[in-house]
Symmetry: C2
Subunit: 242 residues, 2 copies
């Protein structure tokens, strides 16, 4: 029987009342994915929806002609991947990758859609989350257009450690730079700047955030605006509640 411990929960499903969760439960499976696992390749049919639990995080990557893949948005236990915006089974546009391994819920999109058709609260929840995902991508477009690499790097580190729940990201500077679509040497210089100010520590294959507060002052406020939209929109799944 599927259940969520408080440590390994999906925040998205956590707001559901037991009756609505029970609609999903028969088709929910628990899967363990590892960092680097590919959930969808571009063109793959999206037949399953994945919901990160606990510290698991994923990202969508867009592959460009030049061969590089650029990260678009980070998805942690606040969200879901696959069949969120569209319904039924369509070819994936972006690649979905696990960035921090752990537990996920997985449900076939056709069962999810069927459960949504039976529970307005469930339909509302996913529709509201889709709206929040849209806010997230919109903000990222603007962010990439105007914010400096320093601001974006700080933003990304904060977003990652907040979801992971530890002040530590396992990732080479090469990977970080590639995700952001920037040069490795410049990423290194930005991290050195953060390090000199005592905001992060670097090591081979990882970065630790040692002063989250000061690092967030270096970051643009894009994440905050998106978080505010999450709060506003996902508060109303059960409209009868005051």
């Amino acid at each position: 029987m599927a259940s969520q411990t408080s440590l390994e929960q999906s925040d998205l499903l956590a707001v559901l009342r037991p009756g609505d969760f029970a609609l999903l439960e028969p088709n929910l499976s628990e899967v363990q994915l590892r960092s680097g696992d590919v959930i969808y390749q571009p063109g793959d049919q999206v037949d399953y929806c994945y919901l990160p639990r606990g510290a698991s995080i994923c990202s969508f990557f867009v592959e460009l002609d030049s061969g590089i893949s650029v990260e678009t948005i980070l998805v942690g236990r606040e969200g879901a991947l696959g069949g969120v915006v569209s319904h039924g089974s369509l070819p994936a546009y972006a690649r979905a990758n696990v960035l921090h391994g752990g537990l996920f819920w997985r449900i076939p999109t056709r069962h999810l859609d069927e459960a949504k058709s039976r529970s307005p609260a469930l339909a509302s929840l996913f529709s509201r989350y889709a709206d929040c995902m849209m806010a997230q991508v919109f903000q990222s477009i603007a962010c990439n257009a105007v914010h400096t690499i320093e601001e974006r790097a700080a933003k990304w580190l904060i977003a990652a450690v907040d979801r992971i729940g530890r002040n530590d990201v396992t990732m080479t500077q090469e990977q970080l730079a590639s995700m952001m679509g920037i040069g490795r040497s410049y990423a290194s210089r930005v991290l050195q700047r953060f390090k000199r100010e005592g905001l992060v520590r670097t090591r081979r294959g990882g970065i630790s955030v040692s002063d989250r507060g000061s690092l967030s002052e270096k970051a643009c406020s894009c994440n905050d605006h998106v978080a505010a939209h999450f709060g506003k929109v996902l508060g109303g799944v059960y409209p009868s509640e005051v």
Copy 2:
């Protein structure tokens, strides 16, 4: 009675069979909007879905702390705005603006949702378009991260003139620069570069594309990738068709 002339049609609705179009028709109204009109402000309840017809185009803008508004995606007669990704009535995150005035269809989102619940083809159409819109925003995130301003400016001009159907965009360089989140003087320099190569002509308050082919060689291929996804995904609204 609502009907579409071939000159002022919505490409999105044009694929519908008469029976499915008839479900929408009683609640469709024809509205005329002008360049600069604001369709939604951030925070507004999204109660209507708008479908550009003919040469009408709109964009979503994200407003940043600095006071500037950055354009995210262009929507012409291939698409729709409002209640596409989420359903019901939620507060808008981005501002939606008319960039090139003209005719639109407008339908209350609750009637649209009701029609979708009665016609699988209609539901499929909007779900598929939502997936394409997602592809468009994902691509824009990557594009803004890695492509030069020259590539992005060329891309934007091509996208605009293709939707308008004339080689001419009415817009000051100041507005263009502001939309792209770049400095006005640099925008001017890029346009001068295009002009010297005979790709565009500039005038006070507007830009004409005089050599679309060569200009598209200066552009990144982001639009092409998104267009390919549109073709792949929106072809299957009526799956019984071969």
